[in-house]
Symmetry: C2
Subunit: 137 residues, 2 copies
């Protein structure tokens, strides 16, 4: 929605100032912002995994969503899907060069999250106390 960033490659510094919104961050967020992509990436950071291995490692993911998630990641060139012509079928997934570079970002995200989760949690429950009625979720 909205005619976004598809063509313009502005030479604006990315988000240092807010003259130009979006900045193209949406591209990344639309990918890693979903429910499972990050978890798949994190798991694959430990090395190649087969389909079932991923499903067992990632608690709560349905086989449908795992399929969709790896497909999208593959489409974006973040992971590589290899099919071995055995029987029964055997497939493994591994991070590509690009995917691996994303790992650093994910690491940064995790670090930030861990160092701030306490403060955030406190802010939340304080907000919920002072605004008992507000239903934000």
């Amino acid at each position: 929605m909205s005619p976004t960033h598809t063509a313009v490659t502005t030479d604006l510094d990315p988000c240092g100032r807010a003259d130009h919104p979006d900045c193209g961050i949406r591209d990344v967020l639309d990918r890693i912002g979903d429910k499972w992509s990050v978890l798949v990436i994190v798991e694959l950071a430990g090395g190649p995994r087969r389909f079932r291995e991923l499903q067992r490692a990632i608690d709560g993911i349905s086989q449908r969503m795992l399929t969709l998630t790896v497909r999208r990641l593959e489409r974006d060139g973040l992971i590589l899907r290899t099919v071995y012509p055995t029987v029964p079928a055997q497939v493994d997934y591994r991070l590509t060069e690009t995917g691996t570079s994303l790992t650093h970002l994910v690491k940064a995200l995790a670090d930030w999250s861990l160092t701030h989760r306490a403060v955030i949690a406190e802010a939340r429950q304080q907000y919920d106390q002072t605004h008992p009625d507000h239903d934000i979720r």
Copy 2:
């Protein structure tokens, strides 16, 4: 969905290895992964803004979603909402200390996005060519 991370404060290293999924990244992603939060943060990185200023700056956001977004950011202690008892009402929003620190992450996201968007775009259209039937979206 799934009894997540609410209590456990494991001393596991964050995602260096993938022994433990989640890692708490979900907390952050659930916040900045949505459609508008990042844009609000980026805009506020340029200084305090009033409600209408934000709405005008962030192209396409509805007043409802802007309200919800700033409420959630406020709840998490990422932005500060100040009401001036004037008439008509005047309110401004600004990043807190925590919110400002998030800006760095957003910057990293934007940088990564910009340096990889070309590769990703190419990977996508190549995938779409080799898999014309697949409907991933």
